[in-house]
Amino acid sequence: MAIHEMRTMGSSGDTKLLWDSEQDAEVDNARRTFNDLRARGYTAFAVRKGGEKGAQVREFDPEAESLIMVPQIAGG
């Protein structure tokens, strides 16, 4: 069993979505959430704990260890 997580930033702090990459239903749910957030302007970053090397991702990867979804940025 491999558990993965998606952290979505919001005004009440981040919300966490976990999925087991071996469970199709959970992966489908995570993919739907990912695509929905992307459509709403969120940027997705695959990260590793401790600030180690990550990447921006545009397609959902069920094997990503941890995803952080950041709302659209704006200039101040």
Binding site: M9, G13, D14, T43, G51, V70, I73, G75, G76
Partner: protein
Amino acid sequence: MANYLANQIGYFPTYYASSSTSTWTTTWNAWNYTSTGTTWGNWTTTAATTTFPQVVWNQWVNDVLRDPYQFHQQTEAEEEAQRVRNAQLEERAAKHRADAAQAVERAETLLHENLRPGQRRMLRERRRFYVRSQRGRRYEIERGHHANVWEVDGSGKRLNRLCVYPTGGLPEADCMLGQKLHLEYDEDRFRQVAHITPVVA
């Protein structure tokens, strides 16, 4: 209550606006009884004296302006309803404070989980940390929601201020993490959106 007070501090008695019998009766009596303890009483009985304008004015102030609450005695049911309403509002305010504190705590945890040890230490000690960007530039992110990102040179001297932030009313630490991730993995987009101001020496 706001409407009630607005009526009281105007120049007409409350009974024009109030549906409460006790309220308009009290107001009417304050205006019209002929004893010297009312506005009208002072007006009519002291008119021959040299001080009547002051007496009438003082009575008006006493009757209507100084203590507007005297014209509305809350019933027990109204007081109970107010107590219940106050309790509900206090409970809601307490929940809001607790939720806000939890949001801040979650955001701080997420930020710390995604910083290197040196960045965590710098944030704790100096309320800022450095980031090496995707294109090799060096940035300083200080505590804040926006206007808190600086492009710096190798010695830490500030060159440009970049105003850009993730939308959505995020807690401070989430804003800072969003800025960091963009600088590390989506720098071109970050600079494209940012309002960049050179630092004047």
